[in-house]
């Protein structure tokens, strides 16, 4: 069943359909929300709950022919924006340096440490970004959305999305290149 068909079933109060949609999106949304909330797990879970409550309450208003994926991500991004307005989350930054979750080519302990530092630096840089830039970046590189989908979610043109991503990537590459453990130039 497609997401849109499941939404139709939710309108008919089908709990199983709701569970299925939750299973499809909760994981990716939680990761996005956690990144958006500076790795605050509790806040991210609260927001995830709110996202699905909104889905439930607005099921009747979901327009036919619209993409559910863009719709639910729009809800999530808007909730994050509201949360940013309400709280100054930047003061509560928790940069988790988790060595175990780092992927990659199996490398030495020194390289692992470098990788952890890289990850840490990336987190700091992401946390510095304003909400609209961070969500644009995460939607593209964490959630794997297309430029068109991001433009729809962020309510701006595709050109704006591209230029935001372009300057953001350039800046990140410039700042992070010295942390790259595989970068011959940097080491």
């Amino acid at each position: 069943m497609t997401d849109e068909q499941l939404m139709g079933a939710i309108r008919e109060h089908d709990r199983a359909a709701f569970g299925q949609l939750y299973d499809r999106y909760s994981g990716r949304l939680l990761l996005l929300l956690r990144r958006m909330m500076n790795n605050d797990n509790e806040k991210a879970q609260d927001l995830l709950h709110d996202v699905f409550i909104r889905v439930l309450r607005s099921a009747g208003r979901f327009e036919h022919g619209k993409s559910f994926k863009t719709w639910i991500y729009t809800i999530a991004v808007n909730l994050c924006k509201n949360e940013y307005r309400r709280l100054s989350v930047r003061q509560n930054i928790g940069h988790g340096v988790n060595l175990e979750t780092i992927p990659q080519k199996d490398k030495s302990a020194e390289q692992k440490l470098d990788l952890a530092m890289f990850r840490h630096a990336l987190n700091i840089e992401l946390d510095k970004l304003p909400a609209y830039l961070r969500s644009t970046f995460l939607l593209r590189f964490q959630s794997g959305m297309t430029i068109r989908e991001i433009a729809e979610i962020m309510n701006c043109s595709q050109g704006t999305v591209k230029s935001r991503l372009f300057y953001l990537m350039q800046n990140l590459a410039e700042i992070l290149k010295s942390y790259n453990p595989y970068n011959i130039e940097a080491t």
């Binding site: 109060h13 709990r15 909760s26 994981g27 939680l30 879970q45 409550i53 990336l122 991503l165 790259n180």
Partner: protein, 172 residues
Amino acid sequence: MKMKIQSCTDIQRTIVLGKIDYLNQADLKQLRAHLEHCPKCAGYSETLELVESILQQEWEPEKNELRSVRKQLYSAFEKNLQSGRNHRFFYWVLERLTWRVPVYQVAVGMILMFIVTFTAVKHSDSQEGISLERKIIAGMANLDTIQLEQLDNIGRSSLEDSTLISITVTSM
């Protein structure tokens, strides 16, 4: 769009563009050729790839967290369902009412009630007016019961101003 690649700056620009959008075959070919012999640009490209891989490897959902949220959502779902049922019952009752009492009958009934009420209120107002007028005249002229009866016999409707004035004046 075909781009003429020359310097490392151009290459790095192309690397970023490639992360955002698709590159054409010619640009890709030039890019690969350049990366093979330029460690600086290769490092630049690797940095961006590392950023991407760090973000993407976090895709594994954390099941305990998701389970607890799911539990809360299911109870919210039940509540929503219950309120939906209540609404449905309300509309069901409304539909039956509409079926048994057609709208035009209700409208005619309301118009009739309005007319009856309006007439009754007007009648009671005029009755009160007469009795008040009688009391004033009686008070002013110190009329006794016989004279008041005389007034009643004449009747309020046929009572002319002159008669009223003459009775009042003679009594005074």
